[in-house]
Symmetry: none
DNA sequence: GATGAATGAGTGTTCATTCAT
DNA sequence: CATGAATGAACACTCATTCAT
């Protein structure tokens, strides 16, 4: 233990909040800001949503946001990245084996469930991702997450003896995008469950 | 209307111009502005594209744009509205009869063709529509155009004796959205033709 | 003459201000802004002087400044560059010959005269140049102007048979800097004329 | 005061510290802050250097600085004032007698030596003083220190029977300023020693 | 009809300073 | 004595919009 570090630990005794207390404050604030950002970015758009608006919604001062995020872009990336982890968690583990029909159906069911239960979240999330300016920022991350899913599906179609498995895989991806988008835009009337069943029946 | 003819009408300034000549000038200017706007809004975004940029691309002064459009928003709405007419023109006339299978396939082929041939245009167009701020402005118009198409398809599926024709219709709409979107984002690699064939084979 | 250019010239007939009128407005405004900037940058400092302050002093809006200068830095460079031209004009033409004693004395007299007659200007100017942040921006320009002067003096001292002409030249430059600086800081009490005479007597 | 001794005093926290121990801590902290400030203010500038940066370099928290200095301005004044004492220490004691030639030369040698050995320090110091905003704060102090030096030199020139001793004195001061400034701006190439010799030979 | 100088509210961002702990 | 989260006023810069000509 060096002299410097001794001094430091002694000094910390003097600081009134413990490191843990500070961490809790920071975690809480960070989450608040990200939540406010998520809601506003989705409702309006990236460019239309100002840092001022986010601060107001979060109930804090403008300046404080910069205590937690280097700049607006970093905040956006943080919000979107956090959303990706949800996606990633849902991808089934296959250990190199192609998915069975049941596994794929289960994956689709999970996806649709998340769509409905975390509706608010995904609506916001979806409309953020749709904006070209954001795409630039997260293109690579998105690709890194999407490619494995597409491959998983291509493997599935191949194991089913389908003629053009890659085309089928990309089509399935496109269909999911389209369904999500339509559901987001009009959740009241869009017959999500019926459509899920048609999807499974015709495309799986 | 060509530059030559514009010149002519301008040169006739000495002798008083007819009302029609004025109108021609106005129409030509308006079209120029809208074309410049379409290109820039798509390449960048609505918020990132300034009136100055549009004026420069259109080869006119900033102020003149306000002579033709009340404000930026009105310009956007005009551009998007014009784009809708292309959509509308593609919808087949059925005189109350449901579409035949061949007619529907033909409609799908037309749609996909437009997607590829006017790719630049639709890419721009698509990215404009995707922005929430714009959606607010044109939601009603969009609905007015989309509903007839969905109804047409529902009628088709009903005539084919499908159990849940409305769900099928909305799903087809969703699939077309998803395919368009994926094609727009990655036109190089997206197997559009293969997917169109799969779609027709499995879903029509 | 192309169609485009014909259109343009016809259109210009319609614009109410002639190109020359616009140029006059621009020249005048630009000068006003630069004058306001010069005064404020000198009285305070580059960092302390805000664009708002300059706009207020110039009696215009903040935004208009950016109609004339790309950014704050460009404004600074413009102001300083303009000042350099005064310097450059004072350097005597020698056609390769070293200066005579009379010529050098005349140059010094001119320099000192400018210091006193354009006192306000040089005070501002000097204190701008003295600031490290500005130096970075104009270092190259400054060197390009100063080196010829130093060489001229080195040539002079060499022609006088002085042992270390370059050292003498740089010292003369340093002395002039020191005198200017002291005069600027305390023009009331600094005995400029006496000192000029001492300088000429001892050092030329 | 070394880190070791700081630790000791900190460790004695359990037993009440003497007033002296508190003072030592305070003195040590104050010096640390001022040193950090000096380095940063010089490397960057007053406006560019933030309290945060100083705190980080000093290894303490932002808030603590305000425990030792009322505000940023007070910190600057403290740093500059301390620097002046170095100057003051170099002024030779004359007990009312004018300096001898040897004493003056010795003083000049000392000044030049300090310029080169504590180069880093003076460079920083010089660039701080050069900023108008700082000048406002310390003008009076500067005068209080400079006047005695000028008087000393005036006395010297008078004792040498020079016609206008005050002008000579102020000129010598100006020359020293000019030399320092030029050396600071270009220490690699500026022939400091040669120039010092020329100065002594011609002006002493 | 056409121009572009001019405005002013807005943006993202920084930072000296305060204060609860 | 010490911390760092928090504030708010300021900054450089942008841009839709207006208007005298």
């Amino acid at each position: 233990m060096t002299d410097r570090s001794i001094i430091k630990s002694l000094q910390q005794k003097m600081s009134p909040r413990t490191e843990q207390q500070y961490n809790e404050i920071r975690e809480h604030r960070k989450a608040t800001i990200m939540q406010a950002g998520l809601e506003l970015f989705a409702q309006y758009s990236i460019e239309t949503t100002s840092i001022s608006m986010i601060a107001k919604r979060a109930g804090i001062s403008k300046g404080l946001i910069y205590n937690y995020f280097d700049n607006k872009e970093a905040l956006i990336v943080a919000i979107v990245t956090e959303g990706f982890e949800e996606f990633t968690r849902m991808i089934p583990e296959t250990h190199g084996q192609p998915l069975s029909k049941e596994q794929l159906i289960h994956y689709l069911n999970t996806t649709f469930d998340v769509l409905t239960t975390d509706f608010q979240y995904w609506k916001l999330y979806f409309s953020i991702v749709m904006q070209p300016a954001v795409m630039k920022l997260i293109e690579d991350q998105l690709m890194a997450i999407m490619m494995p899913v597409v491959m998983l599906m291509a493997d599935y179609y191949e194991s089913q003896g389908v003629a053009n498995p890659m085309a089928h895989a990309r089509m399935l991806g496109a269909i999911l995008d389209g369904i999500s988008l339509n559901y987001m835009l009009d959740p009241e009337n869009f017959p999500l469950t019926d459509i899920k069943n048609i999807l499974i029946q015709k495309f799986i």
